[in-house]
Amino acid sequence: MSFWNDPLKVAADWLLGVFTGWGMPEIAANILIGFLGVLLLITVLMVLDIFLVWVERKVVSRFQDRIGPNRVGPFGLIQPFADIIKLIIKEDTTPGGADKVVYNIAPMLSMMSVLILWAVVPLAPTILGVDLNIGVLYIIAAGAIGTLSIIMAGWSSNNKFALIGAFRQVAVMVSFEIPMLTMLLIPTVFSGSMGMNTIIEKQSIWYVFLAPLAALIFLIAAIAELGRAPFDMAEGESELVSGYNIEYSGMKFGMFYAGELLHAFTFGGFWSILFFGGYRFFGLEQVSPFLAIAIIVFKAFIGYWIIMWVKYTLLRIRIDHMLGFNWKFLTPLAFTLLMVTALMNALLAGTSTWIYISSMFLSNVLLAWIATEIARSYSRRERERVEGSKAAVLPEAAHH
């Protein structure tokens, strides 16, 4: 087994040899190697995060017909470093009456809730933090810690705007968690496992072809979880200035901002793992683990790009519409889809692959069509009601 086939194992074995050679007990050496692995992963992620700031600014400027950062370094590549220096030397302010301990813990928790997600991301068949058999639930658990960090930031800032922003954001996160968890169960139904690595290994056909509707609902719920437009009611700069992070300055604000970008990229990654085969691409992942990493990073960037595309194209939705859309449309649709998928999966067990794929695909399309028809007839009735009441009111007004 050479370094190019299983780099993590080879490096760990080599380090174990070195550490035990220094007279360290084996268990201590193993713990130290585990810590070093985590440190390596987090360092790579944080460096990637710096790069993401540049990507986000460059892509948004292209969507808005601008050039974007182009002064510092080639293509403005050094710009994020200039931003970081600015953030670090900025005055670190704490608002009067703030709850200092909670105020300082919140940005750390926010960043942490994103970083711990990467423990279950398989970058290649052999390169992964841990292959939890409950990987799917773990995503939701990490999201719960993110929700907690937002409510802590909003409350401890001693600012009405921050608190209203936090309330809105948490209301959205708690409600969109439900369709998201339901859609996470669809790859589980197909693969028979909640572990991320097994889900990828079972995807000889990308699950997006089996359940396109599930992929779409997952993307919508993920964007809402991230609090990005069109679900960025919490930010609402025209009314709330900036939402829960309004009082934070310097690198503490930077933690929230960098956490949001990395979160978006991470959900791009999860989207690709659950529905687009993760590191699989026509057997290329077998050639070298490094190629597998390149494939999954590429797919994650495509997911991230789609999330950005949505963010900079759509307008903000009103909060009651947003929650109504979730509870009255997305959640029932997600539950129905899960039931239909589980039933079809049981009925079609043992049939040929092509029948399985086409009937799964057709059932998804049919369900999407029925759901849009119901929504359309509802909106038509609503419009008639509103216009009818207007028509009834108007002659009255003319009379007076």
Binding site: N133, T147, E177
Partner: protein
Amino acid sequence: MTGEQIAFLLVALFTLGSGIMVVTSRNLVHAALWLVSTLFGVAVTFAVLNASFLAVVQVVVYIGAIAILFIFAVMLTRKDMRDQGAQQNSNWWFGALLAVLTFVGLFFLLESWTGLSKTAAAIPSGFDGMAELGTALTSPDAYVLPFEVASVLLVAALVGAVYVAFNRK
């Protein structure tokens, strides 16, 4: 002492310490946040016991839903969030009595249980606790009836909540 015991003691200390902070902190939101750390300690205890599913469900349900609802309830019902009210009301002796009785009951229950002093059998390799739990919850000769009864109870609670909140036109 083995590493596992040290880990368990540290986690237990953390959980109990947070639990004491829940009942002694004067600020209600702080108490709710200490409750979060207590629940997190319980989740870590589950993880130490190799019950990863229970650990994650503990975080999802208790921290992600119940603790957040606690904080919401405190924020929405108190006029001043820096509430410094009295720590005890007139029922404190009843609460203390219940706590002591529960502790004594659990103590005697565990002492009369023969399995307490035995070491647990090692978990066989390839044992999938998750799959075992799933099968047990849905198989008729195991726990399908309690499982379904619990789900009916939850549906009843859901219907009740909708009925209470429903705004009749």
